[in-house]
């Protein structure tokens, strides 16, 4: 059989996995791979920073459910991926990261651009590989994609020394994967399903608490059916947004630190809490001892390690969320709790999400964005106040339409992620809801957007502050604004300098026109919204408090 280079084997293997696009950045240790990419039928998007390559691959993965692929050279290229890999890990996103490595004979000698990237990424990957023999490359790629995309998804890194990518071997299809230590269990145990059904059937004040697992397993339809069958209100985590229609009468919006009052009150008073694909993060539970104090807890998740990790559990059902919900739907009967739903509705009427009228308010901008796009845009966010306002004031009705760094809270995620989303969804309107601080962390990607004709829109909530940190300083540090006031560049000029479009908006009247102009533009657009400088995200659970003790 004809021998081909490791680089060519890699490209063939990637094609077999259905990879259409790689977000990458070249360098010495990946030269044989880039040589193979030169005439391959795989699109390569040249980013301006490897961190952005990882976020773009992540955005692509979150928008589609298919694995996103990023690539970097050894040493600094590989270490630049680290934040992106950790971001994907915390939010269970199927990213495959491919890094070059110094030749096998040079490993362990502090060679030029050598970094032990498999060691560095050990705690932030689902698994990783150092390929030592070109004949193992095809199998490794097959396994990497299998691990990244099955069970609880997560990033997998493949480190390829230069003599491996430059070596030669015949390509043979590695066949199906058989990993004795990795057999994801998708179907739930019958006894567990029945026990859960029994608890749920006895509920008088049920609440469903839905997380990112609902979106990942594609269980949004089953979740809606379940909620309607048992007439249970549904609150979602940040990652669960879009997993249940935000405009549904049973929707409570988000819970937790910046959740709605009515979601947090409902959780505090429910008698059965049905946690679905969620992991009881501290931003959700607040003070853990007083979280859902009266409730029996049913926990449905694919990852057994999540059960009883932070919070006691009464019934744990392990399996793919969608399969579990299908089984539950088959055994549960309809229920009604009119008094409970009435109580919840009273809270909803009494404590709606609100904001003031004066000046240019970020909440108003996001409501306008929702209105102008008829709720159909794909939204990514940065981190901080901008992220919370996006989660609170845009009504998400579709899964995979809200893409945000939840677990790691990575500033600089939203813009490159939006590029990945736009690549995956070329015909859709994509907005990054940004802060003036976060956008500066990957602002160089304007060049990527322009040169690849990716017409993403960035709505900068420009408050001249690291706003979320300033908010904490205001509330908990006597308004001592230590190093949170932020000088920023003229974002309009920056956009223009890169060949993108820039718009500045200072008054509420200009908002919708600017949004429409951005959507209509074939270019990437930065909109610099000069918002009220000291606007806060409310309501808010102070750190360490019970979630029903909210400010604002």
């Amino acid at each position: 059989m004809k021998k081909i280079s490791g680089g060519e084997i890699l490209v063939r293997s990637l094609k077999k996995e259905g990879v259409e696009v790689i977000f990458g950045y070249p360098g010495g240790a990946v030269l044989p791979i880039y040589d193979a990419l030169h005439d391959a039928e795989i699109r390569h998007i040249l980013m301006r920073h490897e961190q952005a390559a990882a976020h773009a691959a992540d955005g692509y993965a979150r928008a589609t459910g298919r694995p996103g692929v990023c690539m970097a050279t050894s040493g600094p290229g590989a270490t630049n991926l680290v934040t992106g890999i950790a971001t994907a890990f915390m939010d269970s996103s199927p990213v495959v990261a491919i890094t070059g490595q110094v030749p096998t004979a040079m490993i362990g000698r502090d060679s030029f651009q050598e970094a032990d990237i498999t060691g560095i990424t050990l705690p932030i990957t689902k698994h990783n590989y150092l390929v030592k023999d070109v004949r193992e490359l095809a199998r490794t790629v097959r396994e990497a994609f299998y691990i990244a995309t099955t069970g609880r998804p997560g990033p997998v890194l493949i480190d390829i020394p230069r003599d491996v990518s430059g070596g030669k071997a015949a390509y043979t299809d590695p066949g199906p994967v058989d990993l004795p230590g990795y057999k994801p269990v998708l179907d739930p145990d019958d006894a567990a399903v029945l026990a859960a059904a029994q608890l749920i059937a006895g509920a008088r004040r049920p609440v469903i608490y839905a997380g990112g697992g609902v979106v990942i397993s594609g269980a949004h339809e089953e979740l809606r059916q379940l909620a309607e069958l048992i007439m249970s209100p549904v609150t979602t985590t940040l990652m669960g947004i879009g997993g249940f229609p935000g405009n549904h009468p049973l929707s409570l919006g988000m819970l937790g630190m910046h959740g709605t009052r009515y979601a947090n009150y409902a959780v505090c008073e429910c008698d059965v809490l049905i946690a679905i694909g969620a992991r009881f993060d501290d931003r959700v539970t607040g003070k853990v001892e007083s979280f859902a104090p009266e409730a029996k807890i049913v926990h449905i998740d694919i990852d057994k390690a999540e059960f009883a990790k932070n919070v006691r559990v009464d019934v744990a059902v392990r399996g793919d969320v969608r399969r579990v919900l299908k089984r539950l739907l088959a055994v549960l009967k309809g229920a009604a709790h009119p008094a409970w739903l009435e109580k919840v509705d009273t809270w909803k009427k009494e404590y709606p999400l609100e904001f003031g009228e004066n000046g240019l308010k970020p909440q108003f901008i996001i409501r306008e964005l929702d209105r102008v796009t008829q709720g159909k845009a794909r939204i990514t966010t940065e981190v901080g106040q901008n992220q919370m306002w996006a989660a609170q004031f845009f009504t998400f009705t579709r899964p995979r339409s809200f893409i945000s760094s939840g677990g790691l809270g990575t500033m600089g995620f939203g813009f490159p992620a939006a590029l990945g989303v736009q690549v995956a969804c070329p015909d859709e309107t994509v907005f990054d809801i940004a802060g003036d601080g976060s956008i500066q962390m990957n602002i160089q990607e304007l060049a990527t957007a322009v040169s690849n004709d990716l017409p993403v829109n960035v709505a900068i909530m420009d408050n001249g502050f690291l706003g979320m940190v300033r908010q904490w300083q205001e509330l908990f540090y006597k308004r001592r604004y230590s190093h949170t006031e932020l000088y920023g560049p003229d974002f309009v000029k920056v956009a223009e300098a890169y060949g993108a479009e820039g718009i500045r908006v200072t008054e509420p009247v200009g908002v919708s026109a600017a949004l429409e102009q951005a959507i209509a533009s074939p270019k990437p657009v930065f909109i610099d919204f000069i918002i009220e400088r000291e606007e806060n995200v409310m309501p808010m659970v102070p750190p360490g408090e019970s979630i029903d003790k909210m400010l604002g």
Partner: protein
Amino acid sequence: MVRHTLAVLVENNPGVLARVAGLFGRRGFNIESLAVGQTENPAVSRMTIVVEGDQRVLEQVVKQLRKLVEVLKVQDVTKEEHVDRELVLIKVNAEPAKRAEIIQIVEIFRAHIVDIGRKNLIVEVTGDEGKVNALENALKPFGIRELVRTGKVAMLRGAKEITASEGNSQEERSFPFER
């Protein structure tokens, strides 16, 4: 705080020790002892890990261990009838005048003398913790110059086995409920 002895079967790959040990460290677990070696199947290594810590945290660590792709099986042998042994070498001061006394102690413990120097002896002892500690205490008055232990290895008694060959060994079956 409880003491646990875990048997962990892993694929015999480079780097797997770091993956396993790293998990303990990250969760604030101090590994008291760790012994690794090949099993009857050369593709599989077995680690015996002794840790002390909070029960809840330990449970989490065990679950996280089971998620590692190269980990084939994790079993807490503490809960079961088992045998555990450790091999210890002790270099002890042994002036000619004291040797008879030391040899007597060594015989009582069914330990062995494996090296004789001009001023010291090396004693080898195999046993469970109680025996090893008792011998160590008995030799202390002579002056222990150096001590090295292999770490504990453990095996279930009777017909029960911990092997990787029983299908999907990541699973503890019959486990629908948590606590």
